[in-house]
């Protein structure tokens, strides 16, 4: 055996073999994830049809818009079922999807093999531990990307349909605006590239925790907690990533809300330019209010929003953060696996 030939064959040869092994070792988890994602995708596409249908029928049934009182049929008074399904009921599972991916796909990825002690089977073949770990991360990562695409695509479709519907003119536009909730961009981490990046980050978190802890149950619990903490941290960080637009008025009325903007807050402006969210003046007659505001140096009102065109940049920034963290965690796995003792 010539050493050079061995090395050359090693560079190409084991990639396919390691990929097969990585798939085979976790094929139940992989198939389950893909099957559940496919079911979710079918349901999501069907739900999109329901959503569009229900808003269109709402538009014909309620020509006068949202009926507060007895002006129109009672259906016009309530949020259509499909809308609340899509915007409220689906939000909870979407929020906990990364936790599930981290705990059920990520944590067992290394921990199961280490617990069964079968890692020593692979570590005594002709491949390096690093190649083995990289293959496992790549294969389960690819499964996660496919599953994430299946789930994220219909959710993104709902989201963009709603956002687009709210900006259309005419009766249908009114119907969209009246039936769908005022946007707060809560679906930003569930849609587009961010939806996929969040799940990849959860997978890497679970894998790294599993590799460090070497025990499945403990890794599942810890990775669920860490993923939840990461998601919450990103949620808290999100409003601070881009500079919001502050729109001011000289009058007493708040500025009109921009459609599809992320509304942070609104309040009053002082003469020195500072902002306050609460009015220092108690509700009173118009004259009294004017006098009060004058003495308190309140010169007008403001509203702070992220503009709709900032949605995509914000989503890409969050995607970048998630993918960077994913890469760091994967690198941690590859560095650590070399130093592990397998006794």
């Amino acid at each position: 055996m010539n050493v050079r030939i061995v090395i050359r064959r090693l560079a190409v040869g084991p990639a396919a073999g390691l990929a097969w092994l990585a798939w085979r070792q976790h094929r139940v988890a992989h198939w389950t994830a893909l099957a559940l994602a496919a079911l979710a995708a079918i349901w999501g596409v069907w739900q999109h049809g329901q959503l569009v249908g229900v808003v269109e029928s709402w538009a014909t049934n309620c020509p006068h818009g949202r009926a507060l009182g007895a002006e129109g049929p009672s259906v016009c008074d309530s949020t259509p079922r499909a809308v609340s399904t899509v915007m409220t009921a689906a939000a909870a599972p979407l929020r906990f999807l990364p936790v599930a991916v981290g705990a059920l796909l990520g944590a067992p990825l290394f921990a199961q093999t280490l617990k069964d002690r079968t890692h020593r089977l692979v570590w005594t073949q002709s491949v390096s531990r690093r190649q083995w770990a990289a293959a496992k991360l790549c294969v389960t990562g690819a499964v996660t990307v496919v599953a994430a695409l299946l789930i994220t695509a219909p959710v993104t479709w709902w989201w963009s349909t709603i956002r687009h519907g709210r900006t259309t003119t005419g009766r249908l536009g009114t119907a969209w605006r009246d039936t769908t909730p005022q946007s707060d961009w809560s679906y930003l981490p569930y849609t587009g590239p961010a939806g996929i990046a969040h799940l990849l980050l959860a997978l890497a978190t679970g894998a790294a925790v599993g590799l460090l802890m070497r025990r499945v149950l403990a890794a599942v619990a810890v990775s669920a907690a860490v993923t939840l903490a990461l998601q919450t941290g990103l949620e808290k960080l999100r409003p601070h990533l881009l500079t919001p637009t502050v729109r001011r008025t000289d009058g007493d009325a708040f500025p009109d809300r921009t459609l599809n903007a992320w509304h942070f807050d609104q309040g009053y402006t002082h003469a020195d330019g500072s902002l306050t969210t609460t009015s220092p003046c108690p509700p009173s007659t118009w004259e009294a209010l004017q006098r009060c505001e004058h003495t308190r140096h309140i010169t007008g009102t403001y509203s702070r929003d992220l503009d709709p065109q900032q949605f995509l940049p914000l989503q890409w920034i969050e995607t970048g953060i998630c993918l960077t963290a994913t890469a760091l965690l994967a690198a941690l796995c590859l560095v650590h696996v070399r130093r592990m003792s397998a006794r």
Binding site: I7, R9, L21, T124, S341, R343
Partner: protein, 340 residues
């Protein structure tokens, strides 16, 4: 029998197991295993400390020692699965577990780690996929020898069958060095014989170095031509069995009364003295004189190994590293080499 011995002559390693003729390294290839100051810790104390020995290429090595003496630890260190705690161990001239040696070392671990959910065929596919020098024929031969259906799940196999599958993986690599941790422990006599035959054939035809730990001391001389004995954190014996056998003599003294006769201090390195009634038998390494001995016999390898195991404080006998004094003339008689 009395063998005046010249230790240097015994270490030229002439004959069919010449160390330089195997492997793809340069001539005068590095030993299969080479330990310098090797140490690793057990649970509380050092399992081995200051281990210095070299296993030449092409040997079939019996790794002997009481439980917990570090046999498994030595094999897992050599397999690259755990780091050393002191010193160095070089495998085929390289650090263990590095890409330069991984493809050249076949490993059978004590607990036979295998994917329980895989079928036997899938396990062989794993070997084929992860080893560039894979020999399907070598692996298949073991599976067929053990009568294992290829479609059987590994998790449903008996312990002996699992050993066969793990051994098939190790041999399928076509390794230059086989590290086997108690390979025969859970095999029935028939398979034990068959697999021993396979291993011996492999060693004879390919010059594969085999290091196997074993508790079956009585069978060791049938299989091994080199012995590595570890006890109480030290390497006590590391040499060819032929030389170890030749180096020791079992002398008996008859004692006229209850008092133990003084053994002449110049007699040689006394490994063990045992008294039964009036007869005192002494195992001596490199005996210089037989004065006063009622009889002198060549001990069996098992007797020698047991003597060292019972007396772990004995002075070590390690190829290339001599502490015992020996006369400078003569050469070792070739002992009766067991038929292989």
């Amino acid at each position: 029998m009395n063998h005046p011995l010249d230790p240097s002559a015994a270490h030229q390693h002439d004959g069919p197991y010449d160390s330089g003729s195997y492997g793809d390294d340069a001539p005068g290839a590095s030993p299969a295993l080479e330990a310098v100051g090797l140490g690793f810790r057990g649970r509380d104390e050092w399992a081995l400390r200051g281990g210095d020995f070299a296993v030449p290429r092409g040997r079939v090595v019996g790794l002997v020692g009481p439980n917990g003496s570090g046999k498994t630890a030595l094999l897992t260190v050599a397999a690259g699965l755990r780091p050393v705690d002191a010193g160095t161990l070089r495998v085929l001239g390289h650090a263990p577990g590095t890409p330069a040696v991984l493809p050249r070392v076949g490993v059978l671990l004590q607990d036979r780690p295998l994917e329980r959910g895989f079928t036997v065929a899938e396990t062989l596919r794993l070997g084929r996929a992860l080893n560039p020098g894979w020999s399907e024929a070598a692996a298949r031969a073991i599976i067929d020898d053990c009568d294992i259906p290829p479609r059987a799940r590994v998790g449903r196999l008996s312990a002996g069958q699992r050993t066969c599958v793990a051994l098939a993986l190790a041999l399928g690599k076509e390794p230059e060095l086989l590290l086997l941790d108690e390979p025969m422990a859970d095999l029935d006599p028939q398979r034990r014989l068959a697999l021993t035959g396979v291993l011996m054939k492999r060693a004879a035809e390919h010059g594969t170095t085999i290091v196997m730990s074993s508790h079956a001391l009585s069978e060791l001389h049938l299989v091994c031509d080199h012995v590595l004995l570890m006890a109480r954190g030290r390497v006590l014996l590391a040499d060819d069995t032929e030389f170890v056998e030749a180096a020791h003599s079992l002398m008996t003294f008859t004692c006229p009364d209850a008092a133990t006769p003084a053994i002449p201090p110049q007699m040689g390195t006394v490994i063990e003295t045992r008294r039964s009634g009036r007869v005192l038998s002494v195992l001596v390494r490199f005996p210089l004189t037989t004065d006063g001995a009622a009889s002198t016999a060549a001990p069996s390898l098992e007797e020698i190994l047991l003597a060292y195991l019972r007396n772990p404080q004995a002075a070590p006998l390690i190829a290339g590293r001599f502490t015992a004094k020996a006369p400078a003339s003569g050469s070792p008689d070739p002992q009766d080499r067991p038929a292989r």
